[in-house]
């Protein structure tokens, strides 16, 4: 861009330079407030967009806000509470007012700041929080009630009658509240999250940030420079200036070029830092494709970056603050710096006749900017009553109208400012014609990121603003964010911070010299509010006025946090970036305390709002969590298995056959096939741990309640482990494969926690033991083979040399066997089903083949694959406990396994299991339950009440934990935890299930329904 000198006055015909296309000329002509030249926009690239259905044109390089300004649109929004007409106030991410609904359908996105939304061809935006239209909003009737709708009014009313709250009052309030509408369809776009690492993270690419990045990069450190804008330069893009004797734009170009040339520097634009977390983890949002209509193929909409940095230099700049005066929210009242941005960067004139209200020297820059763009300065209102020295020549030259005093009213309508009323110190009023009022109340260093670890900002009287206090470890703030307001100081501060950060990271290169620029004076005399009749807004979005602040003070809400919570000051989408300091300054005034004593509210991440979709990234739908597949998964899928998510695992639940009307029929078939023949089930999901070492037996003795050192090689044993508090942790079968090698299994659910627990025991509790642990869960494909024909099936499968007789491979035996075809397997004779059963393990690569071979070997016996449901039915028929009984509240004795507890050795949980309440005689213990009506379906979660008892806390004696339809009992049966249950076998109780409107009688019985003597499994 060409700088000020290239800008031409509004209305003058553009010099016919180059080949301006007809289309771009037409586009320019349609934009009533577009300057004919200048600006960082591409006039060769006109873009059509629509706002509230009206089609307009802007240029590439515009934001939606700048395009609206260029088209002369002032009214863009309605406020939250009073539905007052609002315009564009800022030109950055701090914008409190100009929020729009972007896009349509599933991509509809509420509350997007027009000031940061880059324009693209076909952009569709709507105003929000209005009905039926922005111009005629019915809810603006709220303004009539504004004398009642003061801060906190709702706490004082809407209480009578009580029932009216949910029915009447609240629905009205809820409908009135909120801003935009969100899409009600799943977000169609994709997101991801990524990691980056560096020595020095520089946040912000204005003069300070560029200076810091140059210094750190030259010194040789790994640098990442993030900038939320789509181009580097920061305020230099809006205010220009001169650095090292060249135009600021030229300096930015050169700096960018130098940084681009350094392999150790990474520049990330459209990337906004939003959080700082422990250990140097910084979170940033990259808007990858928000500037185009839809993301390209395989492109994400946004990406979250977690940037791990040893040091960070935050150069987040400063935010210009408004002044509270009556009418300060009228469309066309704009921050002075924003006016300059629209004029200089975007070549868009916010007004043709601009009044300026400033209490500081910096605001005066606006005079020059407007005049150079060909606009008129209607007047400068400066309560200090004096033209700053730097601007005296300019004021005289242009015969500037300069007024002392303050703005006490702004005239106009929904379409914006028409005049400004100025009241002098002596009370004399005068009205000035203007269509735009630029306001500068001074600058607040953007300290937010420095406070995210609870550091408190420090008040500085000379600039009447807070500057950073204790920053998070490794962070420094530099430049305007650090209270340095002159360009020269920013460049020096940035350079020093960048060089120091690089040195801290061990970089030893030469950081070079800081660039030079002038040190303009920043004089200010604080002005927070102009006290006059009328609503003077502090928080524009939430409609918090200066009088709301003083009302809160009168009612005792004097703490800044009370002020915020009572009035909602600073709780809007901008989190008070433009309002908090003003609000607390007014509170300080009302209480007679200093601003420093009054303090700020707590700053919290994110610095700017972040889409939830981005924070979720790739993890949604099937990728919500990782999944685990068993070795026979694809085999089972090909056979039509129904899968269920259990933890991360996908498990075959049952294998439906044609003609089966429901899952119960399938499961019943599978159970009967096992009980009458043979079946198999993939149980690879069990946790498996190799426990090795000379002390492996001793180790397991201390982990389990029962003994394992005494287990013979080639044998398996059921084991139960407790938590240290005496409650059951997990169970499983553990086999001894060699003198110094045990193979331990856990339940599917507890595989991870048990492994961590075992390592804790090994590394922390008993480091003297020689034990090595390794997870073998994924190494083995493990199948349970069960049913009276199991042995026959196995005989077909194993090498003929293997003795599979009851004597040769007795119950609870465990050893390696050779299979026909050369594969070696581990075989364990254990039974969960109560039938003759084995579990067989082969290396996972053979899992699918094993399933297929079991089908072949078992074909003569009608072998049937079964799923987890049939597995569950058979364990309930046998009274084996599982997850619903091992619920983290039951003791070994509750489960009927108390006798397993060794009295000869110490083990985890032994002592605490002996506490009085855990050994009380009235505990709920595991029993069997069967409805008297054999056709009755028993349901888990139903409660047990004594027969004839009235349901109530005193009669609530337990509940049903697990149920199934038992093909062997030919009725529904279940297990339950019932008070004194073991003493009550045979008792008839009432099963009470009010949730499902069921109530019936059942008998308490032994939990072992089927083959109680255990004959079948030993046969």
């Amino acid at each position: 861009m060409s700088g000020y000198s290239g800008s031409e006055p509004l209305g003058r015909t553009a010099a016919a330079e180059g080949s301006t296309s007809a289309r771009s000329q037409a586009a320019s002509a349609s934009q009533s407030h577009r300057l004919r030249s200048g600006g960082l926009i591409d006039r060769q690239a006109p873009l059509q967009f629509s706002f509230d259905g009206k089609t307009m044109t802007g240029f590439a390089g515009d934001t939606l806000a700048s395009a609206l300004v260029a088209n002369g649109v002032k009214l863009v929004a309605r406020s939250f509470k009073y539905h007052r007409p609002r315009g564009i106030i800022t030109a950055g991410s701090e914008e409190p007012s100009a929020l729009v609904e972007m896009r349509t359908g599933a991509r509809k996105e509420p509350n997007t700041r027009a000031t940061t939304q880059e324009l693209y061809d076909g952009l569709i935006a709507q105003s929000q929080n209005r009905w039926p239209s922005l111009r005629r909003d019915v809810m603006s009737i709220n303004q009539l009630f504004s004398p009642i709708f003061v801060a906190g009014f709702y706490y004082k009313t809407f209480m009578w009658p009580a029932k009216f709250w949910e029915a009447i009052y609240e629905p009205i309030i809820r409908r009135a509240a909120g801003l935009g509408k969100s899409a009600e369809l799943p977000d169609p776009d994709h997101y991801d999250k990524a990691w980056a690492h560096c020595d020095v993270l520089v946040v912000g690419a204005g003069p300070t940030g560029l200076s810091a990045a140059l210094a750190a990069g030259r010194a040789g450190s790994r640098v990442i420079l993030v900038e939320e804008d789509n181009r580097l330069g920061g305020r230099l893009l809006s205010d220009g200036g001169e650095i090292d004797g060249m135009h600021a734009e030229e300096w930015v170009r050169r700096a960018t070029g130098e940084l681009d040339g350094m392999a150790n520097v990474r520049i990330m634009t459209r990337t906004a830092l939003f959080g700082v977390y422990d250990g140097g983890v910084h979170a940033a949002l990259e808007r990858v494709s928000d500037h185009i209509p839809v993301p390209g193929p395989h492109q994400v909409r946004q990406r979250i970056w977690r940037i791990v940095a040893k040091r960070s230099v935050v150069t987040a700049g400063a935010i210009e603050r408004p002044i509270a005066f009556p009418g300060n929210d009228r469309p066309g009242v704009m921050m002075a710096s924003a006016v300059r941005t629209y004029v200089h960067r975007f070549a868009a004139m916010p007004g043709k006749r601009v009044a300026l209200f400033t209490n500081n020297d910096d605001g005066w820059r606006t005079v020059e900017a407007i005049q150079q763009a060909g606009g008129d300065i209607a007047a400068v209102i400066d309560p200090r009553g004096k033209v700053p020295a730097e601007y005296q020549a300019l004021a005289e030259l242009s015969d500037l109208r300069v007024l002392a005093g303050g703005v006490t009213d702004v005239k106009g309508g929904v379409d914006g400012v028409r005049g400004v009323v100025v009241t002098a110190a002596d009370g004399r009023k005068q009205q000035i014609d203007a269509d735009c009022l630029a306001v500068s109340g001074g600058w607040n260093p953007n300290v937010g990121l420095s406070c995210f670890h609870r550091g408190k900002p420090v008040w500085r009287d000379d600039i009447a603003a807070f500057v950073p206090g204790d920053c998070p470890t490794g962070m420094v703030m530099a430049g305007a964010a650090n209270g340095e307001f002159s360009l020269g100081a920013c460049l020096r501060d940035g350079h020093a911070a960048g060089a120091a950060a690089a040195a801290d990271c061990g970089a030893s290169g030469n950081a070079g010299e800081a660039s030079e620029a002038g040190d303009e004076v920043y004089a200010i005399s604080p002005l927070w509010q102009v006290k006059a009749k009328g609503k003077a807004f502090v928080d524009f979005q939430h409609d918090v006025t200066a009088s709301d602040v003083t009302l809160a003070q009168r009612e005792g809400f004097e703490s800044v946090e009370h002020l915020k919570r009572y009035t909602t000051l600073g709780m809007a989408t901008d989190q008070g970036k433009t309002s908090n300091i003003t609000g607390l300054a007014i509170m300080a005034d009302a209480t007679g305390r200093t601003i420093s004593q009054t303090g700020t509210t707590i700053y919290r991440p994110p610095y700017a709002p972040v889409a939830i979709g981005a924070l979720a990234g790739h993890h949604r739908d099937e990728s919500f969590h990782a999944w685990r597949l068993t070795p026979s998964h694809h085999w089972a899928a090909a056979r039509g298995a129904v899968f269920v998510d259990t933890g991360l695992w996908k498990r075959a639940q049952w294998y439906p056959q044609p003609g089966e009307k429901d899952w119960i029929e399938s499961v019943t078939r599978e159970v009967l096939a096992v009980r009458n023949g043979v079946g198999f089930c993939d149980v690879s999901t069990l946790g498996k741990v190799d426990v090795r070492g000379a002390d492996a037996g001793t180790f397991l003795d201390r982990v389990y309640i029962n003994a394992f050192s005494s287990l013979g090689v080639g044998k398996a044993r059921y084991g139960l482990m407790l938590r240290e508090d005496g409650i059951v942790m997990d169970d499983g079968t553990t086999s001894r494969l060699a003198e110094d090698h045990y193979f331990l299994t856990t339940t599917t659910a507890k595989a991870g926690p048990v492994m961590a627990h075992l390592e804790f025991c090994r590394q922390v509790l008993w480091p003297e033991l020689d034990v090595q642990l390794s997870s073998a869960s994924d190494q083995w494909a493990q199948f349970s083979i069960a049913g009276p024909n199991t042995r026959k099936l196995l005989q077909a499968l194993v090498d003929p040399s293997e003795d599979m007789s009851n004597e040769g491979f007795p119950f609870m035996g465990a050893r390696e066997v050779k299979l026909r075809g050369g594969v070696t397997a581990r075989l364990f004779r254990i039974s969960f089903s109560g039938e003759i059963a084995f579990e067989i393990s082969v290396p996972a690569r053979y899992g699918a083949a094993m399933a297929e071979n079991l089908m072949i070997a078992g074909k003569p016996y009608g072998v049937t694959p079964y799923g987890t449901e049939a597995l569950g039915v058979m364990r309930i028929e046998k009274g084996h406990v599982a997850g619903p009984e091992l619920n983290g509240m039951t003791t070994a004795d509750d489960l009927g396994l108390g006798k397993m507890m060794s009295k000869k050795k110490d083990f985890i949980g032994r002592v605490m299991a002996g506490r009085e309440a855990l050994t009380a005689t009235d505990r709920q213990v595991v029993v069997g339950i069967k409805p008297l009506d054999r056709a009755r379906r028993l349901r888990s979660g139903a409660h047990v009440i004594p027969k004839g008892g009235i349901p109530g806390p005193a009669t609530d004696q337990g509940y049903v934990t697990s149920v199934c339809y038992s093909p062997m009992m030919e009725q529904w049966i279940g297990l339950g935890l019932v008070e004194r249950g073991r003493e009550r076998i045979g008792e008839i109780v009432r099963i009470h299930d009010p949730l499902r409107s069921e109530d019936y009688e059942a008998e308490i019985c032994s939990p072992v329904f089927y083959d109680p003597e255990g004959v079948r499994q030993r046969g």
Binding site: A177, P605, I612, G613, D621, E622, H625, I727
Partner: protein, 417 residues
């Protein structure tokens, strides 16, 4: 001044110049019958009930900062009484009943809003656990409904019913559950207690206990001087261990950080409270329009009132899994509260081994919903020196005896509750 639409309209005529402080700002007296340490919801409710129900009005609430500055002002505002274990069930229902009359009791609109809470389930095992809990509720006279996915779809059509992972199978609904405006609860109790004579003393930090020769607590040392008291009650969840240490006590409590989040305000979308059963995510929408949501603890001991990114991501992943239409809604603010995590996930309301010192602690992340009942039963304990019947199981010695109340079955591992 009584609050009503009439007083409001009248005040409007004078530009609201007539409103006075919602509660006084008294200097501490030298002696109170009862001192409550902690000006959060529980402490203020305790003071209110002491004055209102037990006739003890010479009471001070000492708050080191501003009232409501702890967890009372940092929670996700959910109220519910859907507990499953004896001890919890009756207590939380007592609390729910007090919520239901709170506004009339206090003459303060705390926006108690019973728009329902639904716990989604995604597996048979979860359904069974919810059925057990729902039946417990019904047996105790509490409303509960077990809905299937078809029924839920009618009320919450925007959920992800067809998820390829952990599809929604149903949910346990308590229609009387909902939310309340957390700050208003604090202010309402403060104003009502103040009106009944209670002194609320802000910016008054307790720095030690005054004890007699027998070890009995007879007062407190504070940043505003020594104050003597007949009895001292602690209601400082988040700082319990620190205050207890001043009396030489060690407790079965750890402090953990729980994060919560709010989005930008949007038009009404979510009617009640929804909790996702296959991940760490629950959500509701405030009257202002922000979606208020949260998830699991960060998992490590912390007094920092702020957390880290993994939990932010975990929670948002849960959110996108169960309601993928919130993808473009923006998280506006995240914060952290310090949870008094007890060793079984259940609170402790009891006398302490130190004579004259009473404990109200261990609220984990369930303290807000308990506020009114906690105040009532703690006031009862302070006034009568015996536990309120609905808090009889919240004893400190239950861990020693093995009588834990462990709804999640996680044992003495606070970060898992």
């Amino acid at each position: 001044m009584k609050y009503s639409i009439f007083s409001l309209a009248k005040a409007a005529l004078s530009g609201h110049q007539g409103w006075t402080r919602a509660w006084r700002d008294p200097a501490p007296k030298s002696h109170y019958d009862v001192i409550i340490i902690g000006g959060g919801g529980h402490g203020l409710a305790t003071a209110y009930f002491l004055a209102n129900e037990y006739g003890i009005r010479n009471v001070a609430v000492l708050e080191k900062g501003w009232i409501g500055s702890g967890n009372a002002g940092r929670n996700t505002t959910i109220i519910r009484s859907n507990y499953g274990l004896p001890g919890n069930t009756g207590f939380y229902e007592l609390s729910m009943k007090l919520w239901e009359r709170m506004e009339q009791d206090l003459n303060y609109n705390a926006m108690v809003s019973q728009r329902g809470i639904i716990n989604l389930y995604h597996s048979d095992a979860q359904r069974d656990a919810f059925a057990r809990r729902g039946n417990t509720m019904r047996i105790n006279g509490i409303d509960a409904e077990l809905l299937d996915a078809v029924q839920i779809r009618k009320e919450l059509p925007f959920l992800n019913y067809d998820s390829p992972r952990f599809p929604i199978m149903g949910g346990l609904l308590q229609r009387r559950g909902g939310t309340a405006r957390h700050d208003a609860v604090v202010w309402g109790y403060a104003r009502a207690a103040d009106q009944r004579g209670v002194d609320i003393i802000q910016n008054c930090e307790v720095t030690g206990f005054v004890r007699d020769q027998n070890g009995k607590v007879t007062g407190v040392e504070t940043s505003r001087g020594k104050i003597s008291a007949g009895k001292v009650g602690m209601a400082v969840a988040g700082s319990t261990s620190k205050v207890a240490a001043m009396a030489g006590m060690k407790l079965p409590i750890e402090s953990h950080v729980l994060q919560a989040f709010v989005t930008e305000a949007i038009k009404p979308l979510i009617p009640g409270v929804v909790t996702f059963g296959a991940g760490h995510f629950y959500i509701s929408q405030s009257d202002k329009g922000g979606l208020v949501f949260g998830g699991d603890l960060d998992g490590y001991n912390s007094y920092a009132q702020r957390g880290n990114m993994p939990v932010v991501e975990d929670v948002c992943e849960g959110g996108m899994a169960v309601m993928p239409m919130i993808g473009r809604v923006r998280m506006l603010r995240q914060w952290g509260g310090i949870m008094d995590m007890s060793m079984d996930g259940t609170p402790i309301i009891d006398k302490t081994p130190v004579d004259g010192l009473y404990l109200n602690a261990g609220w984990c992340y369930g303290g807000f919903k308990a506020t009114p009942a906690s105040g009532l039963v703690f006031a009862h304990l302070l006034a009568r020196d015996e536990p309120h019947p609905e808090a009889a199981r919240f004893r400190l010695d239950r861990f020693r005896r093995g009588a834990m109340i462990d709804e999640k079955g996680q044992g003495a591992q606070p970060n898992l509750h």
